[in-house]
Structures are given as C-alpha cells and as structure tokens.
Amino acid sequence: MMASSYNAKDEDGHHPGSVGSGGPGAVKSKKPDNTAFKQQRLPAWQPILTAGTVLPAFFMIGLIFIPIGIGLLVTSNNIKEFEIDYTGVDMFSPCFNCSQNYSWNSTSACTCSVPFTLDQPFESNVFMYYGLSNFYQNHRRYVKSRDDSQLNGDKSSLLNPSKECEPYRTSDKKPIAPCGAIANSLFNDTLELFYIQPNGSRIAIDMVKTGIAWWTDKHVKFRNPGGNNNNLSHVFRETSKPVNWRKPVYELDPSDPDNNGFINEDFIVWMRTAALPTFRKLYRIIQKKKDNMTPTLPPGNYSLEVIYSILEKSA
C-alpha cells in the first residue's frame, strides 16, 4: 500500500527535473468532473406515496379488474364439465370388483362399465381427461426418475440409461426402455365411450388419440431410436419393458406407427409430470361433427367402458 502511495506521489511531479518544467497547464487537477451523474444530480422522478396519489391508483386498478373479472366469469360459465369417478371404492360402484381384485400379476384385464347420462349437449370439441388425486407425480425423486436422452432416441442411452432411472434402470440385466419410475407407473387404463341409443344399441364414439401432447414433445423431445425404422420391435430388442407394464413400449399403439414407441402420445402426456398431486391429463379428443348440425355429444345415456388395470388404487 505504502509502495503504491508513494508511487502516486512521484507522479505528482517530484521526479527529478519535472518540478518547474511543467507549466500551469501541465498541472493536473484532481477536481472532480461536474457531471450530473458524478454529482448525483441526475434528473429523477420522485413519487411520494400519499393518500392523494394512492387512492386514485387503487380506484384505477379496481376499474381495470372489473372487465377482466367479467370476462373470466363468462368464459368459465361457457365451459361444461362432466366428471365420473370410477375408482370403485364404493361397494355399489361398478368398478368395485376390479379395485378389489386388482393385482399386478393378473394377466387378464378387469373391465367395468360406468353408465351415465348427459342432460346437456356438448357442443364443439370435447376433451376427455383422466384425473388422479393424491398421486404425487411431483415427488422429487419421482420427477427425476427418467432419462430424457433415452426418450429422445439416443441409441447409447437406450442401452445404457441414466443413473437417475435407478432402481428402474435395468431388469433381467437388460436396460429398461423407457426407464425410470415415471414411465414405470404409466397410466394404462383404457377408456372407451359408448352412446346408448334409445333403442338400447351402443354406438362407440370416435375419439382421437393424437394431438393431445405438446407439439414440441411429440416432434422434438420424444423420438424413437433408429429414426424412421418402422421395425420398432427390432430397435427395442435388447431392452426390456418397464416392470409394471404388460406390453413393451413398441406395442403401445401397434395400429399407428406415428403413435408408437416413445412417441406414443398417451405416454408423452404421462411423462409430463403434473405440478400438483391432484391433476388431470388429457386422454382423448372427441371432435365435433362435420355437419355442425348435431352436437358432439347429444344429451342421452352413455356408458364408459374401463379396462381397469392400474395404479390409481395405489394412490
């Protein structure tokens, strides 16, 4: 410090010969610059919060929120919602048997059908969700338990999944594809909807199973290994299915190669972990009729056929 301090003094003109040689102009003043910034005199707005300023502000805010509130109210009133609980906890519930007899090892699926009646027609597209309650998809270890590169079609990750997937990384000394707890606990109930005509005949309602996932998920984030190789069973041959699954990943939707394997949208939707323990996930979309004359779901009796397999019991 001292060294630097007397070094500074040297610069002041104590060097031999420099005294007197510098004219008045050479003497550099230490005078600070007179700028608004350096003198802390920048022009400034000084709001002072007093009742006089705050009350109008409150009033303004209130006024702005009134139309917003009205808009929200109208929008939410336009949405019709119909909810069916098929958990089967209740003795008289159609799915009670399934919920009781359920076990992972049962090879045969338990099916039950839940009848319900719509009083109001459902216009436009109808979105069908499944919901789970108290299913902590947001649990810290659960959320982590996946391998995004494997899901992105990375070959090496396919055969050597990330450690994050433990303990659902390998089974039978084969890597699991898709690995991890999220994939392992995939919601695999199958829901089908039938319209019961007044004459008693059941008409299956068309449900679209694509377009339910984010476009970026389907096209960027999730990819099958092997690119356009349609022979998925070959691609996945050195992997094993997740422990809880009944069928391997390449048989999720054999009918549509664009919805099979990792890019199966039901799978993608499940993999997007929910924020809260009670959540719903989009399952199917019932598209509105082309003629636009009849409602998508006219009022009447319906039946929901459930292939009850799953895990909600465990929640």
């Binding site: 001292m2 104590h14 649990h139 810290r140 929910a274």
Partner: protein, 1451 residues
Amino acid sequence: MARETGESGETKSAKVKKHKRRKSKKESKTRIVHANILYDHTKGGDNPNRHYANNKIKTTKYTLLSFLPKNLFEQFHRFANVYFVFIALLNFVPVVNAFQPELALAPVVFILSVTAIKDLWEDYRRHRSDKEINHMDCLVYCRTEKRYVEKYWKEVRVGDFIRLRCNELLPADVLLLSSSDPDRLCHIETATLDGETNLKQRQVVRSFYDLDCEFDPIKYNSVIECEKPNNDLNRFRGYIIHRSGRRDGLYKDNLLLRGCTIRNTEEAVGIVIYAGHETKAMLNNNGPRYKRSKLERQMNVDVFWCVIILLVMCLFSAIGHGLWMFQYGDKRPVFDVLSPEGTDLSPVVSAIYLFLTMIIVFQVLIPISLFVSIEIVKICQVYFIHQDMELYDEETDSHLQCRALNITEDLGQMQYIFSDKTGTLTENKMVFRRCTVAGVEYSHDANARRLAMYQEMDSEEEDCTSHGGTLPRRDSVISHQSGKVVLRSQSTKSHRRTGSRAEAKRASILSKHTAFSSPMEKDITPDPQLMDKVNECSSQMEFMRFHSQPLNQIPPDLCDVFDFFIALTICNTVVVSSPNQPRQKVRRYELKSPVKTIEDFIKRFTPSRLTSGSNSSSSSSLATNRSSSHKVGCSMLSSPSAESTLTKLHEEKRPEHDLQHAFSPVPPNFDKTKALAQDECELRYEAESPDEAALVYAARAYKCALVGRLPDQVTVELPHLGKLSFELLHTLGFDSTRKRMSVVVKHPLTEQITVYTKGADSVIMDLIRPATGATGIEDRLQDGVPETIASLRKAGLQIWVLTGDKQETAINIAYACKLLDPEEEIITLNAESQEACAALLENSLHYIQAKFLCNPRPDPQVARDYAGIHFSSPASSGHSSPFLVHRLGLVIDGRTLAYALDKSLEDKFLAVARSCRSVLCCRSTPLQKSMVVKLVRNKLKVMTLAIGDGANDVSMIQVADVGVGISGQEGMQAVMASDFALPRFRYLQKLLLVHGHWCYSRLANMILYFFYKNAMFVALIFWYQFYCGFSGSAMVDQWYLIFFNLMFSAFPQLITGTLDKDVSAETLQELPQLYMNGQNSEEYKPYMFWMNMIDAFYQSLICFFIPYFAYVDSDVDLFTWGTPITTLALFTILLHLGIETKTWTWMNWVSIGFSIALFFTVALCYNASCPTCFSPSNTYWTMQRLLGDPMFYLLCVVTPIAALLPRYFYRACQGTLFPNPVHVGRQLDTLPMDMRRIFLSQSQMKLGSLGSLFPPRAPFFPLCRPFQKDYRPRVKQTHMSSTKQKEKTISSPIPSKSMEMRDTPLSSKNSDNHITLNFRMQEKVQSCTQGADSTLSENLYFVKEPSSPITGTLPYTKDTPLSRTILESTGLEAPLSPTDLSQVGLLTSTPLLPQNETMQLTSPPRSCCLRQNLDDQDHSNQKSLLKQAEDVGHTQSTSCLQEHSHKTTFL
C-alpha cells in the same frame, strides 16, 4: 557486476541456507554491514551482506502459482463462503441432492471468482507499482569501472555505495558518508513518510566529516554494526568500526530513509544499510484497516435469524416428510421411488435426508450475494463521495479520501464528534497580526484590513457558490510565485477577479511544496509607523557604519526595534531555501571559526554577563541589558574580528520600494545569470511550526529577511546594511516543559553574545517582566466552522472538543466557533486531586439535577405542526438514557480529566458530561483523548467520530468508530490513521449530513430488501412442499432458482442501493435534523426485519396461491406451473423495489427493464436450447408456450398488484398519517425551487426562535433567562463584536488590562470568524483558573537578555530527547511529588469571562500545594525550576561541547 553476484547468490541458495543458521546466531541483535566492493571478487560467496534482503520490493500477495490456493484459502476465512461451498458439495451426495451438482456450484464459484478477480486486480496493481519502483534508476559504485554506474533500484544491495543527486528519491535506507555540502549536511524531505514538507537535515557520519577530498569508496574499509531492521522511523543506533579499531557512533541523523527526497544538496554518497523490505519505510507499511460498521453488525444478527428461519423451515419439512411417509405405512406408493439401491427407506431416515435436501433447496434464504452486493455498493458510494465537487478543496487540490472502504454508512449514524482544535477547527495558519516593541504598540491596521479582506473574499465567494452554483472557491487568489508583489491593500474585488484561476491553482500547487506559506501567511502589510522606525534605524546604522561610529549612539527605541526584528528573524529553526528549481540551499557567505574551547567561550561571554546587572535603570523595557550591550558592543567593534565582519557586510543596496528585490539573495559564488534568475523568485522558509514561519514572514515584511541558516550561522539581510551573519552558538529548541526557545548568537556588529528567547506569554512574562516586544499571531478559524458546528449540533450530534491548548484559549475558540453559547452556563472542572475531582463531579451532578429537575419542564419532544406538515418528533429513542441534554457547557482541564477518567469516577464524569450540550477538554494529552473517546464509546454505546489533523490525534482517531483526518499542514500521520481524510473541517457537514445519511439509508434499505427478496422467493418453494409430500421438490426450475439472485434481480437493487436519494442534498443540509434518522437507526430497526419477513411471506403466499388456484385440477405440468410463479415473483420483487425507490432516474428504469428483459431472454433461450439436457428438470419450450397463453398474462397483472397492495397501502398511510421527518424532507423536495427556499428560510427562522423545527434534545429552560438578560449587555461591553471596533480599541497605545478579543457569537454572519488570542502586554497573566499554562505560543515574547548560563556551542542539537529526559527527571518530578495534600476544587458555573458570577459550590481554600505544581505560575518556583533546567542544559551542552572540540582537534 552486482547483478552477477546476485545471480550467483541465488544459485548458491543451498549454501546460503547452511550459512544462515550460523549467521542467525551471530547476528541475533545487530546487523553488520561490510562494503560490497571488498567482496566482489569472491562472487558473493563470502560476502557477509548476502543474507540481507535485497532492494527488490514485492508487495504482491500472490504469485501465478500460488494465486488460486492462497486466494481460496483467504476467501474461506469468511464463514459465508464456507457455508455455501458446503451446500454446493452437499449436492454431490446422491441421496440428498436437489439440483444438478455442477449447477449448484455455480453461485459459489461466481461469488468466489468475483472476489478473486477483485483481489487479482488489486494484486496486479501492486505488482505494477512494485515493478515501476524496482526499475527506478540510481547510481551505484562499481568496483571494476571505478565509477558510479546506473542501476535499477532492485539491484541495490546492502553494502552498496550509492550516489544521490539533488531531488532524487532514496532507494533504500542509506548511511550518509559524504555530502557535497560544505557543512557535510544533507537535506531531505520526508513527505512520503510522514507528510511533513519541511526539510530535515542529515549529517555525514562523524568519521567522514573531515574528509577534505571527495569520498572514495575504494578506500572505505570500515564495518558498520547497527540494530536490526525495525519500523521506528525516529531511531537508529549503531557504530562504525574503522580499520584502526576506532568506533564512531551512528545516529538517526546519519541515516537517510527510503522514500525521502534529497533536497538542497547537490550530491551525497552513502552506504546501504537496510534494503527492500527491511527499510524502515517498508516496515511501517501497514495494510488498510478493516472495520465493521454498525449496520453490518446489525445485519449479521439478522443473517443469524435467517439461518434460524432456514433451519425451522427445513425441520418443518423434514417432519412433514416423515409423517407423509408414515401415513402410507408399508404400502409404498409408486411415486415414492426407492433409493437407487432399491432399498426401502424408513420415514425417519428419509426425513433426515430430506432435512439436508431442504437446506440445499432453501439456501437462497441466506443471501449469498448480499455480501458481494454490499461491497459493490460501498465501492460505488465511496466513488461518489470522492467525486463530490463540494468536498473538493481547490486551494490544496485535494478532495476527500475514503481510506476505509467499508464503513461509509457509519457516517450516517454518528452521535458524538470528538474534535481536535488546532488545525481542525482553526486553519493552523498563524498570521502575524500586530506587535508591540518596547512598549509601543503597532496596530497594523493595513494588515488587519488585509486579513479582513481574505475573510470577505471567502464569504463573498461563498455567496456566489450558494446562489449561482458552480463558481469555484478561491478562484482568485493571486499567484505569488511570480515574484511581483501585489499590494494587498489595493487589490479590490475587481483586481481579485482578474486573477486567473489557473494562476491561482498554480500558486497553490507550488506553495504546497512549502508548508505554512500560503499568501495569507506570507504577505504582511507593514505598519507605516513601525516601518518608518525600521527605515530610520537602518539608515542610522548605515550611517554609523560608514562613519565607523559606535553603534550605541542609536536611540534606544530604534535599538529596540532593531533587536526585535533580529529576534524575530533568528530565534527560530526555520530553514531557508530558494524555490528556484532544485531546492538549492543558500550558500554560506563566510566561515567563521567557532568558539574553540569552553574557556574561550566563557571568556567571551563573561563581561557581558558581568555588566548585565549593572545598568538596569532605564525606564524602557529593555533597559536591563541594552546599556551593557552598547558598552560591550563598542569595545568589540574596534577589535579586528569585528572589523572583518563589517567589511564582509554585503554592499548591495536595493531600491526601497521594491520589497521583493530586497529579499532576494545574491550569493557571492553565483554567476550573473544565475543571480538574475535567482532575483526573480523569493526565498522559501521551511518551518517546523506555523508560528515560526509567520514571524519570519513578518520580519521580512519589514525588510529584515532571513536569508540563510546553517548549523552555526544565521544570515540576515537588513535594509541598508545588507547581509549580516550571526554566529549561532547554541539553540535551545522549543519544548513543552520550557515553553520557549532560545538562541545564543554572537552579534556580528558588536561581537556581543546575546540570548534571544521566544516563548509563550505565561512563561516569558514570569521570567522577565519587560520584554523587547510582543507579537500577536492569529490562528484563524477555518471557513464555515461555526456554521458547521451549529448545523452538526442541530443534527443531534454531541460535539466535544479535545485540545491540548490552555483553558482560556480553548474556551475562546469554543465561543468563536459557537461550540459554547453565551446563553449557556458553563461548568468548569478544575481539580487538584482525585478526591477533589470526585467531590466536584458529585457537586456538579447535584447541581445539574437540582437545577433542571426543579423545573420539570420536559424535553419539548412534542409533535409540532408546522405549516400544514405534520412532524412527529424523532422520539429520543436512540438515546434511551434518562439523561437529558441541557444547555450547559462543560470545561475540564487535562489534570482533572486524568482524575475523572479513573475507573471510580468515570461513570460520574460521563453522567455530568452527557447532560451537557458541549464538552471542552483542555490540556489533554493524546492518550487522554483516546481514553475519552473509548470511554464514551464503550459506556454510552454510541457511535463516535474523531476528527483531528495532527500526530497527537492519531490515537483518538484510531479508537473512534470513524476516524477523520484533516489533511492540513501538520503532516500526514492523522490522515494515515484515519478512515476518511478531509481537506477542511467544514466538509464534515456534507460528509455526515448528506453522504452519511445517504449511505446509511441506501444500505439499510438495500439490506432489508435483500432479506425480503430472498425470503419471499424461498417461501414460494416452502409452500409448495405442502403439495409435493414435503419431498423437497421445487416447481421453480433449478436454473431460475440459482440465478434468480445473481442475475435476474441483482441489478436494480444495486442501482437503487447506489443512487437512491431519499432526500435531496440541499434539504439534508438545510434541515440537519434529518440526520437523527440515521442516529436512531430508523431505517433499519430490528422490527423492520421481521416486518419485511412477514411481508415476504405474505407476498409469497399471494404469488403461490393465485397461480395455484388458477391451475388447480388441471393438466398443468410442474414447470409450466412453476415458470409463471417465478415470473410473478420477479415482477413482485421488482415492483416492491419500485415502491421502496424514492428517486427514479433513468438508470432505475433501465435496470428494471434490463432485469425483466434478461429474465425473458434467458428463459426463452434456455427453454429452446436443448430438449434433453438439464436433467432432472426439463423445461423445453415452456416459456414459449406460456407466452401464448392469456392466463399467463392475466396472472402477471393480477398477482403482483395483489401481492404489493399491503405495502403500498402501508407506505401511503405512513406518508400521509404519520410522516417522519424524512418524509417531510421528501415532500419539501418536490416543491419547486423557489417555494422550497421560502419554506426553508421560514423554517430556519423558526429554528432560530423555537430551537428547531424538530425539537432538539436541548430544552429551553426558563431558568436560563435571568442569565441571558444580564449577560447580553455584558457581552456587548466586553467584546467588541466586529472587527472594526476591535481595531479601534487596540490602537490605544498600551492596553492596560488583558484584552480578550473574540467574535461574539451574536455577531452576524458576515463578521469574520477569526480570533485574536489574548493580546496582553506588560501584565502578569491572569489566568482565570489555576493550573492553566500555555504551550501553544499564540503570544510570543521576545526577550533579549544577557547571556544566561544556557550557553554552549552545539552546532547541531543532537539527541535532544536525552537532554529532555534529564530535564524532566531533575526539574519536574521534585515539585510534583506531594500532591496528596491538595484538595482543591473550583467549580465555576459561568461563561469564562471574569465579569461573570462565579459559583463556587465547593471552595476549599486554595492550598499551598498548588504552588508545588510545575504548571503553576508561581514566580519563584518557576524561576528556580528554570534554573535547574538551565543548569542541566548547561551541563549537557558542555558535554556536547567537549565532543565538538574533540572533533575539531581531530581535524
């Protein structure tokens, strides 16, 4: 060659090590230095000097290799860093980890690297300056080339001979062996070491003194043994052993220290004794101090609370997780993933793991960036304080220096100011004011006018600056370096205006090189009457000389005048130099043989002594000796030696009207051109104290100029007579015990030996009643001191003045600077013993209680309604004491203070002192000063500021919470020890009231905001734990979580923390009461932390639950829900800052806009960058989708508003319903300029009448009124309130009574601030209190006495401490011993003036013990003492004389 040996030395380092052990034993106490040239041929192997440090300095802390480990090691000394590293490392434990471990390291690495870069930069700067210094050139003797060759400083080694030329810096500590100076002297300037700009003489080692020819290093074969390197600048001991075996002592006078500059000496040669880091300068080199501010201490408590909150939250989560696990029992849900090993964890174990995880997740609560941010903000604050134009002093071209970077906010919280007087309140510019010679007073009206003009000029310009704004101060001081005398009396305003600014600046810069030589001090307008006499005297003398008549025919009054000026000129230690380029010493004109032996000396001086007593009949004051001197004078005049003196008188005569030419010396040795050049400029006087310089300048104004000073000779140039050389036989320097200095000279005209003594009035008047003359010197108050003190006091600061001055002087100054108020009562404590002091304190305490408790008028801390604005008084909560501050002043002297500071009495003393409005400690020693500060600081738990300028204030400055040094004329010690260095006292006002206030409120608000911000953000995650099974999951992406503090929300708060102004500078200065805000810590009280925490939790609840309810039971995924929450939190936090920001400049807008833009940019880039990276969280395309979601925008509008409503509402209520003074100040700021001025002037008026706008702590007691009433007229009687009146009264020839002149505090603003101190004549000093003595020679009395026994030829007073200690031991201790008898106490409860009533509460008889005091002014006692002292001096000088004679025989 030296380089070679150096390298070989390095290669043989192993060998060196071996040697070292042996060596270290041998040189345990001393260092032995051989000349290097003797060992050159051995290639360094045998060089005995090789173990000493070389001259290469390295002040850097690190090398390239050691930087990383060493810097990290240092950084880990800070606990917070260790904590954050621990947390980051915790992330690497798989069961615990919350984030990607590498990412978790990022903030810590960032913080560490920021600090490391800062350290690296500082180190690099040190390295560069080291390099520059190491590569400076100097001349080192080279054996092979047989001459001096240029080498770098770093190549200089111990034992080298170096040749130094004028104006060169010394590369190392060098023992002076030869000097081109005929007196074997070398002058050095030590400004870089101690800041003293006067020249100091150093002497060639005695053995080399007598060398006739030039010093030849080859012939040198002595060995030097001296002490080991130490850091004592004032000590050097050793001896030199010659081949012959003879030893000579070495003293500090032989040593030239590194960093000093050679002046006035053409060439000097020396041998290096200490080099590099072993030099005294480097050993004195201490790093900057680290202080912790009060705010930081407070903050650390709250950081601790944050830790507690963190642990509570973690514990809560852990228990919650345990319970959550427990409720599932054995049936494990699928989402509760097993551990990687597949084992099942029990609820308890997982709860413990979770606890650790939560510490990681919640780590943000402990603000990692707070410490870095505070450092950044403080650096910015320091920058702005540096840049303040109003703290820049044009005269000295210096601005405020912040030497401590981390206590800026303490400036806003001061409660007590301890101030030094001389040089701090006053300018320490002693200005010659008037004089009396032989009883005739010369009033120097013109001089007084001149001084008044300076004053006027100052005040005028002050007006200019205050109204117009930017006119620089003192822009029109005319250059005096040009050599042309500008008659001050003529220079009216217009004239001054013409003086260009650059010229003025140059003048000030040039005069900076010489202390005590400002134009004000230098230009003295002579009194015409006295001038006439001088002219008359000199012309007569000239006449007599030409006609070889004896000098005793001069009329006695003229002779007195002559003696008076001779005394003024030579009775001092002023060194003369010419400013013409190198400080060239004025050559001696003749060499006179010094007195050879003591017998010779006695023989010479005996006659005068014998005759001295005989002729003392004259009525005039100097009659005692003059007649005798005449006799001796004429007898000597006929002697041949005297004749030779006369013939050598300079023949040159100069036109009378050109003053300047009369002063310019023309040394006979100089050639014509040089002489001409020399003519152009005047001489410079390098004085050790300002009063000496003032007197010499005064004498010069009467053409009696000091032109040269050598150890044994003083040359004076007199009008008509030309140059006279006085042989200097002995000098008795000024010391505080003798309180005078004397010179013994042989008069060249009369060959008479004369003693001239100069000393303080008390001493001289006691010694010899009639004096040759007396001078009045004035030390002006600095500009604006009374105003500053008044406004600081209004700001609620208690101001204590601790001074070494005598009581009267101190009280006078205190009145002048409005520290004491004539309306106040003054309690004076003067006690002679511990018991007396105890009794006094007890009594005064009772007195205060009785006086002020019987009038139970409470402190008027009542809220006042002023002009529609509500003021609530700043409740005296800061001072929780029951003590109220009364309108009382306390004056205490050093001795009583010593008793009062005793453990048993300190509480009582404090009780008395704290109830007084102002305290004045006179005669206090440096140690006492620091003890007082320490006592007040520790006992009252207040923030203390000490301000001073001299070395005696250093201890006080170091003890106080904030030390302020005045970079004045008394050197740099105070500045070196201080935290802040100011050019002038008055800058303290802006520093404290404006910058202190700002720094404090900015930092306080920033710290509170930091706590709020982190708590608010962390609480969001805490609420989420209720919805994720307390699993430690976070909906906020880890990137946002980690960089939220460092990036997204960092800039606006830094800008606000640096630039926010709650109240404008003008208002702060005009309403000093606003300062109490900081004193009472009102910006940052403990409850505010909790308020902020509660607000943070509320806001986070809003920010959490509005999105929760917006997305509940939907298909929202974790991060699509978490990202809006992060965004909302950011908006809320920024808007919160907006509510807290008082002034919005464009920088605030830009920083907030930047923060938001940065967040979205980062989020968009991050969310688009990689679909598979950043496990475990993957937020691919989230932000992009959110931006297309109207819900997101709705949330962004609704949530921050809802979250901030309470705070907004609270702030609005605060501003409307219960505004504190700061709010009022802010409201004043919003008024237009002219309105505000009217408003403030009104408030000032009210302040005057009501006491203050906000009632101060000083109550207004009706009981004081009687005092006021009968006091005021008296004031007017006794004190001439304005300068003009003063002049009139003074002009009466002989003031009979002691006259104390001062500015009455009642006088209006335009009256001057200066004070003339105790101008007394022929009157025994009447001290109003016993025990008062005077060291500071405001009054100097010149005595010409016949040679008293203090004589001897000591050409150079060496080792004065030695003689001083003897003086003390013999002279001092005897009278001091039986003090236990004295039980004297006097309490005067009055203003000091003699007319005022004296209340003697206890009046024990003045015991005789008083007399036994040294300080007492008893005549006989003093005399006897003096005798003793002089005897000692005599013996001392004779011994020295012997030494001297020894030397001459050696020759």
